[in-house]
């Protein structure tokens, strides 16, 4: 059972990559991750050394994307910004997926008062837009990378709790679970061997799409000056500092935004390809 699911899942990535959309999107994502990891080896410049005489240089051979208000190479800062933005959003979604799966699985599996409490809490969070939840949590924890990760993680918690709970509830009543139970399997065995592995596929797809949303949310928090603090570059912080120079040097704000938009676009395209390859129930995207 376990080996079987694993095979279809890894096969799905291959099948997703076999479509033209999947190849382009996957290629871009690979490039962004590669650049984020190997940024120091790919650029001759430092992200934080200021060079004031060279401020606001337009794109040229030496500085492909120009320089910012402190004369720092913009391409370098976007490359290092990918590090911050990708790590913050993936850790954040990691938090929501892990906590959401624990809460959702426990609620869906055991039912009773715990299930009702979780459902009420999820519905309450649902009535606040994610950006508001994140804004307020960052205000509580203080600006910075850690605060942003936790804030975004909590903002998307409800989504994964709800999704896992619904999955567990649906699978719980399948005949193979009943069969396993009548063979004497305990709660833990059923939960970890049968329910969670089968609930995992839609969660993985949703996590991928949510990572895209988290990148936008991270950029928005960074834009309000609440994300990574200077001189650490993140895509949001870059755009935030570019706002003041909107009329003087528009490339400072335009290019990091392009990086965000194209990356999130690629994540969505790849997610779509993955949904088709996995044949996850329609309607997941609408959830």
């Amino acid at each position: 059972m376990k080996v079987g699911t694993f095979d279809t899942r890894s096969g799905a990535i291959a099948r997703a990559l076999a479509t033209p959309k999947g190849v382009i999107a996957g290629g871009w994502l690979f490039l962004v991750v590669f650049v984020a990891i190997f940024a120091p080896y790919l650029t001759p410049y430092d992200y934080d050394i200021q060079n004031l005489p060279n401020a606001f240089a337009p794109p040229s051979a030496a500085h492909w994307l120009g320089t910012d208000e402190f004369g720092r190479d913009l391409l370098t800062r976007i490359m290092y910004g990918a590090r911050t933005s990708l790590s913050v959003s993936s850790v954040a979604i990691g938090i929501s997926v892990f906590c959401g799966m624990c809460l959702g699985a426990a609620a869906g599996f055991f039912g009773g008062w715990f299930d009702r409490a979780v459902t009420v809490a999820v519905d309450l969070t649902w009535s606040f837009p994610e950006i508001l939840v994140a804004l307020i949590l960052v205000a509580i924890m203080g600006p910075g990378v850690t605060g942003t990760m936790i804030a975004i993680g909590v903002a998307y918690l409800a989504q994964f709790t709800r999704l896992t709970r619904a999955q567990i509830m649906a699978i719980k009543s399948e005949t193979f679970v009943e069969a396993s139970r009548s063979l004497g399997a305990g709660h833990g065995y059923i939960l970890f061997r049968h329910l969670l592995p089968n609930a995992l596929t839609p969660v993985i797809v949703a996590a991928m799409l949510a990572t895209g949303d988290a990148i936008i949310l991270e950029a928005t928090l960074g834009f309000f000056g609440l994300g990574a603090q200077p001189p650490t570059p993140s895509w949001g912080a870059l755009m935030s500092s570019g706002t003041a120079q909107l009329f003087k040097a528009p490339w400072i704000i335009i290019l990091p935004g392009v990086a965000v938009a194209v990356t999130v676009f690629a994540i969505n395209l790849f997610g779509d390809a993955l949904v088709r390859a996995l044949d996850v129930r329609a309607g997941l995207r609408e959830a």
Partner: protein
């Protein structure tokens, strides 16, 4: 139907109480003291105590909550600590700006989303479909504040067609509405497309084709009507999402709405204003969901029958 609306409204009461508790306790977790903004330089601890007592901030939290809640129920949202004006006044000034923006953006998303979704569904898997769906997806992957700034740069600064910021004229509304509306357009278009394609496979559609009705008439008169039901569901579920987008976009366009007020008060630790803004936004989301459900029941006789 009226009974259903009444029951739903009644259900909002406990939710409202729960939301108010959550908002109140969370606000008081924010570090930083609003009194800091009020004290003159060189004032001693006595002045701090006096001012703290004037705003009731020296009482236990439970008592503060009770005072706040009983005030809210009587329409008194308290006094802004930093702005030194009744919160209700600030909200009354900001709310119309946010409501116009939110409603226009909703209308924008719905109109364009449905039109694009129908065109995409009728040209399923052809070039028009892929171009539309790719285009709206790209529109929804751009951060709202960034898109707003870009539109300002192109249409206000370079082309001079619209004002850069503010809310004095109607033309100042165009760019914010487009910015907020684009994200929703993608959502509506996607749901409309899928719902149209699914509805077109029903038996009654085959019957209409068999009796010789023109395809365009079938699609617009019959298939679209079926497809609109999930669209309304999604819109009512994601109304808060659209409002959330409006918060950041308001700041970019310097519109004096709820979002701008909220961010400003959050930075100043002006608790009463933050509480009121959050409460109003949460209520707007809940009312939006309720209105969506009612419209859905009004559109779909099956739901109406189930409600009794």
């Amino acid at each position: 139907m009226l009974g259903y609306i009444f029951r739903r409204l009644l259900l909002l009461v406990p939710v409202f109480l729960a939301v108010s508790v959550v908002i109140f306790s969370i606000i008081h977790l924010i570090p930083g003291d609003p009194i800091d903004n009020l004290l003159k330089i060189g004032s001693g601890p006595e002045q701090r105590e006096i001012i703290t007592a004037r705003y009731g901030l020296d009482k236990p939290l439970v008592v503060q909550y009770w005072i706040w809640l009983s005030g809210v129920l009587q329409g008194d949202l308290g006094t802004a600590i930093v702005a030194r004006r009744p919160v209700a006044d600030l909200i009354a000034q900001a709310l119309p700006h946010s409501l116009t923006l939110g409603l226009c953006a909703l209308a924008f998303s719905t109109t364009f989303g449905i039109v694009l979704g129908v065109i995409a569904a009728l040209n399923r898997d052809k070039f028009a479909d892929q171009a539309i769906m790719g285009g709206v997806l790209l529109g929804s992957t751009m951060p709202g504040f960034w898109l707003g700034l870009l539109l300002i740069l192109v249409f206000s600064v370079w082309l001079g067609m619209f004002p850069v910021s503010g809310a004095r004229t109607w033309s100042a509304l165009v760019l914010p509405v487009v910015t907020v509306g684009l994200g929703g357009t993608a959502l509506v278009a996607r749901v409309t497309r899928v719902a149209m394609i699914e509805a077109a496979q029903r038996d009654f559609v085959m019957l209409l084709h068999a009796k010789g009705m023109r395809p365009l008439r079938i699609n617009l008169r019959h298939v679209l009507r079926h497809a609109l039901i999930p669209v309304v569901t999604i819109l009512s579920l994601r109304i808060g999402w659209i409002l959330g987008g409006a918060v950041t976009v308001e700041v970019v366009f310097a519109r004096p709405g709820l979002g701008t007020l909220l961010i400003k008060s959050l930075n100043q630790h002006d608790y009463p204003v933050v509480q009121a803004c959050l409460l109003i936004l949460a209520m707007a989301v809940m009312l939006g969901t309720l209105i969506g459900d009612v419209i859905q029941a009004a559109m779909d006789p099956r739901i109406r029958a189930a409600l009794g």
